[in-house]
């Protein structure tokens, strides 16, 4: 009897370990495979492991004029500009949606969600067409606009939630003490909403860093961001450069995973979309 229970619980533990082991392989297998390619110099079928490894490709892509260095700089530059544009638009909008007497507020909030609700490719190819007429195709400005439009729903919704979480009594107190509307906003409301605004900035930065479809239609071939470099080198069969670009793109994403909970507080999170 005792033996039967023991062997039952033992087989359960074995099953559990096996299931978790398989999940770990499914999740980390592809990542490990990419890491191997990032240091591979010679590797072909049917060899299971690298034939030669080293950092030759790293040197090649990270030279001052190497293509990864250039792509990384243009990606970061575009992402920074996208954050600036998004915040310039989202902060006033979020403030008005949280505090103002906005007519049709619910519909307006929903409107920002629309670009996420339709397949992006079908829309972006027509944006590219419009941009041809405006000479924005293949320009950084065009790419920034497309990236900002994709991040807008997150920027506006999170900013709205952040402003809504600010205690209205504090603003009223500042006003009662004679501070003007602008002064109240700059000295009281904005600093209190800042962690939420930072979270939306990080969100938008990452969306821009990782964006592919819009850049593919609007920016290529003139604007080469990291995702575009990854794509073209992978299609040419240059898995080393593609894997090194992947690895660079993973750094901000994983960093984000580690810090997001610090910025996006529960009281803001509970308000998103309201």
């Amino acid at each position: 009897m005792v033996q039967a229970v023991l062997s039952h619980s033992l087989s359960r533990a074995l099953l559990r370990t096996l299931a978790i082991g398989m999940l770990a392989f499914a999740i980390f297998g592809p990542i490990t495979n990419m890491l191997l390619w990032a240091v591979a110099e010679v590797w072909y079928f049917p060899h299971k492991l690298l034939l030669e490894y080293g950092f030759v490709f790293w040197e090649r892509v990270f030279r001052p004029e190497g293509n990864a260095t250039e792509a990384l700089f243009s990606s970061v530059w575009i992402a920074v500009l996208t954050v600036v544009v998004s915040l310039a638009i989202a902060i006033p909008a979020g403030y008005a949606l949280a505090r103002g007497k906005m007519p049709f507020r619910y519909l307006v909030m929903l409107l920002f969600l629309l670009p996420q609700a339709f397949p992006a490719v079908a829309v972006h190819m027509n944006v590219a067409r419009t941009f041809y007429g405006l000479d924005l195709n293949g320009s950084v400005a065009g790419v920034v606009l497309v990236h900002a439009s994709q991040g807008l729903v997150f920027a506006v919704w999170i900013a709205t939630a952040a402003f809504a979480a600010v205690d209205g009594e504090l603003e009223a107190a500042a006003r009662n003490m004679g501070a003007g509307r602008w002064r109240t906003f700059v000295d009281v409301t904005l600093p209190l909403a800042l962690p939420g605004i930072m979270a939306s900035a990080i969100f938008v930065f990452l969306i821009s860093m990782d964006e592919f479809t819009g850049t593919y239609f609007v920016g290529a071939p003139e604007v080469v961001t990291l995702p575009m470099l990854l794509f073209t080198s992978s299609m040419e069969g240059n898995y080393q450069i593609a894997s090194i670009s992947s690895l660079i793109l993973l750094v901000p994403s994983v960093g984000f995973m580690l810090v997001i909970e610090r910025f996006l507080k529960a009281d803001v999170l509970a308000n998103v979309g309201n």
């Binding site: 495979n33 590797w43 490719v121 972006h124 009594e169 990854l230």
Partner: protein, 284 residues
């Protein structure tokens, strides 16, 4: 005088002015191109009378890919649903603390990995000399020479499931954590197995959250260009690849937009289901 007597927020006009730039952006970069895509699909690039010849051509050339796209997103959505419920279910009902901790740490990783990177990871992982085949041949499940590349429809499904399951699992686990534990305890007292408790007691209570997560994933899968482009761009492939091809190789906006309208319709169908369900929930 109460603290709220002096209004702190902007008035009606002020609010409209503050939101205006954001609305302009949506109008210029979404509503206008969206409207154009509809007009272009039913005309000759926006000129002349309305007709359906773009759709006739689209079906003629790409009927296989239309079915292929529906099959891929349907299979992937179903798999994501099953895996997400399994993961979230174990996090909620599991009894082994170590296993729960490990699982919690493990399952989220792909959530933060961009689609284009996921596609590249799978391009190497699922290839003929990738680690997937290494595992299968080393463990003796298949012969080395029988190793094949998985970079076809299976690769697309695997990549989508790998990338989207954590997102749905995260939502569902959150919903499961906040349901009423008494029903679960009651089920336990009556001796129901954990699988039965999960399927019959827990899942019905989080069905709406599960549906929202699956619908969002479904739309994302219909939108993503990089995954089908990098895993399998040869026919049969997904409509996103066909649209890009139609434009880059032929400058044919008519047929490309006709395909685009079809992809709007695919998402429209699930949006309709969702709205119907949420109306029902509200009435209940």
């Amino acid at each position: 005088m109460s603290g709220h007597s002096m209004s702190v927020g902007p008035g009606r006009m002020g609010a409209i002015m503050l939101v205006a730039p954001a609305l302009l952006m949506i109008g210029f970069l979404f509503l206008y191109p969206f409207g154009y895509s509809v007009i272009s699909a039913f005309t000759d690039n926006g000129e002349g009378s309305w007709h359906l010849s773009n759709f006739v051509k689209a079906v003629e050339f790409y009927s296989k890919d239309i079915l292929f796209t529906i099959a891929i997103v349907t299979i992937a959505t179903a798999l994501i649903g099953i895996l997400a419920v399994a993961i979230a279910g174990y996090l909620t009902l599991g009894e082994n603390k170590i296993a729960i901790t490990v699982l919690k740490w493990l399952y989220r990783w792909p959530l933060f990995i961009p689609f284009i990177v996921s596609a590249q990871l799978m391009r190497t992982f699922l290839a003929k000399n990738g680690m997937m085949n290494n595992l299968l041949t080393s463990s003796g499940i298949i012969e080395l020479l029988a190793a094949q590349s998985y970079l076809d429809w299976r690769g697309i499904v695997i990549t989508f499931v790998w990338k989207q399951t954590p997102f749905v699992a995260l939502l569902v686990a959150g919903a499961m954590a906040s349901i009423d534990r008494t029903t679960i305890d009651a089920g336990r007292i009556f001796g129901a197995s954990r699988l039965r408790i999960l399927i019959e007691l827990v899942v019905p209570q989080i069905a709406t959250t599960l549906m929202v997560g699956l619908i969002l994933s479904y739309v994302v899968m219909l939108s993503v260009l990089s995954v089908p482009l990098m895993i399998n761009a040869q026919s049969p492939t997904m409509l996103t690849v066909d649209m890009a091809w139609r434009i880059n190789s032929y400058g044919d906006y008519g047929v490309a937009n006709a395909l685009g309208i079809m992809s709007y319709l695919f998402t429209g169908v699930v949006a309709w289901f969702y709205l119907r369900q949420s109306l029902k929930d509200k009435r209940a």
